[in-house]
């Protein structure tokens, strides 16, 4: 997916960029203490930019696209100085980058008058024709002038047979993602890697697909190139806002894994069985959610053979539920596409809370039959009844995220553990487990700081040019260790004074503890049910035609 960068001459600008990127997460760390197996800071700044830009860093050469980028971005007030990037994976620049002091304070914000520019992460969606579709912090100006400029940028680079992928300035990373007729742009000063930002844009794209389907969007724009998609998304902005908020705060998105509510396995099993018993034809997924975390997922048998539910689809569903929770006494029946399952077809989702007015326990039933509302609602009644009989709601209410102190390792402050070796993993949802964020990560600010550190570690581990297996990173106020093996991916955060040896011992203990607790921490053996009389024709294809017969063309 990532194109490797052309190795160009390391220009001074490039070096600075690397340093800038390194500066934030590593701000006060002594470079000596960073013992990565490999260090490749510049990988993040290496990127594709039109070939013609080679040898120019944007300060001269009027016809280079770097210059174009500068001009356009400056004109749009996006950033005072954006420079066209060259990929810089040369060892020379790397060394210099390592030793460069934390870069110039990027806080001279008085130049940037409008507050929207200071947002950590802007996201724009526009059509290929340049029509605005969504802006995270949308003011009308933002929509009109900035989007126009973005589009000009994209089409400029497209005309040269080069897809623009990203632009770096000292403070901002601008990442572009084109998906079909949609162009998604992220302008971020969060110091995340391009890969991460692109993955986030992909979630935004998927959320749009989940509401409209890929096929419909393609057909709409085939039919009318400058269609204003806001007509169809009107009212859904909050769903995208909610998604971007989750992306910033919930590491599930970073890890592409689902966080499930820790629960005694006997309770989880009995809840699964309850779901398993309350079925109706064309029901394909029954999902129970509590406190925004997964309790259990039960799938139709033939569906599970075909495919499993992808974490991203679950994330979209969870976000949808969060976004529709305002008026909780009702039962929702909505078409929803699960883009990773099948981007072109709809499921019909029944969403209802089981514990109003608290509304923390939510039932989600997915059917392939759009008329099935009353039948599916009846399943909910049965589930509700069974749960009342078993007193499940109060048992679920007792379930909580756990404290890291339960692990019993003194210097360990927090961790995220994503196993690859859950039994039957191939047919199961990728999951991760993580304790509550506790002091010193109680304030939003500190939480975000820890999340940023994790994102930084993640970007190093998953660097497209130099992936690492193990990183020991001494930051100013904590020490982090990230480790990826064939069996798991682990991120740990320790108090700053921990030694490397201590950290390793601690991790051994942690892994042992997780092993012991895994029945509680993960969904292990979800049951299946069978509702489809004709197994060969499971939902995968059956909906295919659905979006065509609904007359949306008349909307154009």
């Amino acid at each position: 997916m990532e194109d490797p960068a052309e190795p160009p001459l390391p220009g001074p600008t490039a070096v600075e960029q690397s340093a800038t990127l390194e500066a934030e997460p590593n701000q006060n760390a002594d470079p000596e203490t960073e013992e990565s197996e490999d260090v490749d800071v510049s990988a993040q700044s290496a990127d594709i930019v039109p070939d013609e830009a080679n040898g120019n860093n944007g300060n001269n050469g009027t016809d280079c696209s770097g210059e174009f980028v500068v001009t356009m971005l400056a004109r749009s007030n996006l950033e005072e100085q954006a420079v066209g990037t060259e990929g810089t994976s040369s060892p020379l620049s790397e060394d210099i980058a390592e030793e460069a002091p934390p870069l110039q304070s990027h806080r001279d914000e008085d130049v940037m008058a409008e507050s929207w520019r200071q947002h950590r992460k802007h996201v724009f969606v526009l059509s290929e024709a340049g029509k605005p579709i969504y802006s995270r912090y949308g003011s009308e100006e933002a929509l009109s002038s900035t989007m126009g400029v973005m589009m000009a940028l994209v089409s400029f680079v497209q005309s040269g047979d080069n897809m623009i992928r990203s632009v770096y300035s000292e403070e901002h990373t601008v990442v572009f993602l084109q998906k079909g007729p949609l162009v998604l742009v992220c302008v971020s000063n969060s110091r995340q890697s391009e890969q991460q930002l692109r993955a986030e844009l992909l979630y935004v794209y998927y959320q749009i697909i989940s509401m409209l389907t890929q096929a419909s969007i393609a057909r709409i724009f085939e039919h009318k190139k400058n269609y204003d998609l806001r007509r169809l998304l009107a009212g859904s902005e909050k769903i995208l806002d909610g998604l971007l908020n989750l992306v910033d705060w919930d590491p599930s998105f970073l890890l592409a894994a689902v966080h499930c509510l820790p629960l005694p396995s006997s309770l989880r099993d009995s809840l699964s069985q309850t779901l398993q018993k309350a079925i109706t034809p064309n029901l394909v997924f029954s999902i129970l959610i509590a406190k925004n975390q997964l309790v259990t997922i039960v799938q139709e048998k033939t569906v599970i053979e075909d495919a499993r539910l992808e974490p991203a689809d679950v994330h979209l569903l969870l976000n949808l539920i969060g976004a529709s929770s305002a008026f909780q006494a009702g039962e929702i029946w909505t078409p929803i596409c699960l883009p990773l399952f099948n981007p072109d077809c709809y499921f019909y989702a029944y969403i209802s809370y089981l514990d109003p007015p608290e509304c923390t326990v939510c039932l989600l039933l997915l059917s392939t039959d759009k008329e099935a509302f009353y039948a599916v609602a009846e399943c909910k009644r049965r589930i509700e009844e069974a749960m009342v009989a078993q007193n499940s709601l109060s048992l679920i209410a007792k379930a909580q995220s756990y404290s890291v102190s339960q692990v019993g390792v003194s210097d360990l402050r927090h961790f995220m553990y994503k196993p690859f070796d859950v039994p039957d993993n191939h047919h199961q949802l990728t999951q991760f487990t993580s304790p509550e964020m506790e002091a010193p990560y109680s304030s939003d600010e500190e939480k975000m700081r820890l999340l940023d550190l994790y994102r930084y570690m993640h970007s190093r581990i998953h660097s497209s040019s130099r992936p690492l297996k193990l990183i020991y990173h001494v930051a100013e106020r904590e020490t982090l260790l990230a480790w990826v093996t064939s069996k798991f991916e682990l991120y740990t955060c320790f108090s700053p004074l921990v030694t490397k040896a201590c950290a390793i011992t601690a991790i051994t203990k942690l892994l042992r503890w997780i092993k012991k607790e895994e029945d509680r921490l993960f969904i292990r053996y979800p049951p299946k049910y069978s509702t489809t009389p004709n197994p060969s024709k499971s939902s995968r294809k059956s909906e295919q035609q659905d979006s065509t017969d609904n007359g949306f063309m008349s909307l154009l």
Partner: protein, 259 residues
């Protein structure tokens, strides 16, 4: 909405249609929860059961994109009343009723009644700016802590038309006459005789979900009007689990009505 009602068989179905953002969810919220609050966008359709006296009225709140998703006919199937909603400050929203929503009502009952509702009247009509007292109509007991809209007009803009922000959007774009004219056209579309149908004056409302203006009147009028269908339906099928369920719930002790 009381949890108690969850398992009851609905006696009658009411559907709220109209463009996104005209205030459908807010109207329903105002009526059932007695509050105005920034609602979150409606996803698909939302099904509510409202207990009205001894009757259970099911209400579908919709998102406004039904034509695209093709679910509109499902929401409207067998409806006894349909509320076609527009925003008085937005002429297009009235036009959309005819262009996009009317055809969805084809699956409604033959004797379905239609109400045309112009919401956000508080933005254009001083009369609609007065907060409506919320007592009396709900049967809820413990509402002491309920925060009502204190005063509907934010101090920043004493009278909406004077607001510097976007004065034009606050001008009334749809008059009562246009709504009644639309009502006439709907009757014609349905092949109904104007003389034997409910009069436009009675079926065209201007409301404010924000202040509560005319909201109860709207729902109560409709419920009164669908009462005959309710009774007919009850006669047709005698089955009514209401009493049993009530006992069942009470025995469980856990649930309390919350609305």
């Amino acid at each position: 909405m009381p949890e108690v009602s969850k398992m009851k068989k609905p006696d009658v179905k009411v559907v709220i249609l109209g463009d996104t953002s005209v205030g459908k969810t807010s109207l329903l919220h105002r009526y059932t929860e007695r509050k105005f609050r920034d609602t979150i966008s409606t996803v698909g359709g939302a099904f509510y059961l409202k207990q009205w006296g001894p009757y259970n009225i099911s209400i579908w709140d919709t998102a406004g994109r039904e034509q695209f998703h093709g679910l509109g006919s499902m929401y409207c199937r067998g409806a006894a009343a349909i509320i076609l909603t527009y925003d008085v400050t937005n002429w297009q929203s009235l036009a959309e009723i005819e262009e996009r929503f009317l055809s969805l009502t084809d699956t409604a009952n033959n004797d379905c009644i239609y109400a045309i509702v112009g919401n956000k009247a508080d933005l254009t009509d001083p009369q609609a700016q007065l907060t409506v007292a919320t007592d009396g109509l709900t049967d809820d007991q413990g509402e002491g802590g309920e925060q009502r809209m204190k005063l509907q007009v934010p101090p920043a803009c004493p009278t909406p038309p004077a607001s510097p922000a976007s004065p034009s959007s606050l001008l009334k774009q749809v008059g009562h006459d246009e709504a009644t004219a639309l009502y006439g056209r709907i009757l014609r579309y349905k092949g109904l005789d104007e003389k034997s149908s409910l009069p436009a004056d009675r079926m065209c409302f201007e409301t404010s979900a924000k202040t509560g203006y005319n909201v109860d009147a709207l729902f109560e009028t409709l419920f009164d009007l669908v009462l005959p269908s309710i009774l007919r339906k009850r006669n047709e099928n005698q089955w009514s689990p209401t009493v049993d369920l009530e006992d069942y719930r009470e025995a469980n002790g856990k649930r309390r009505g919350c609305c």
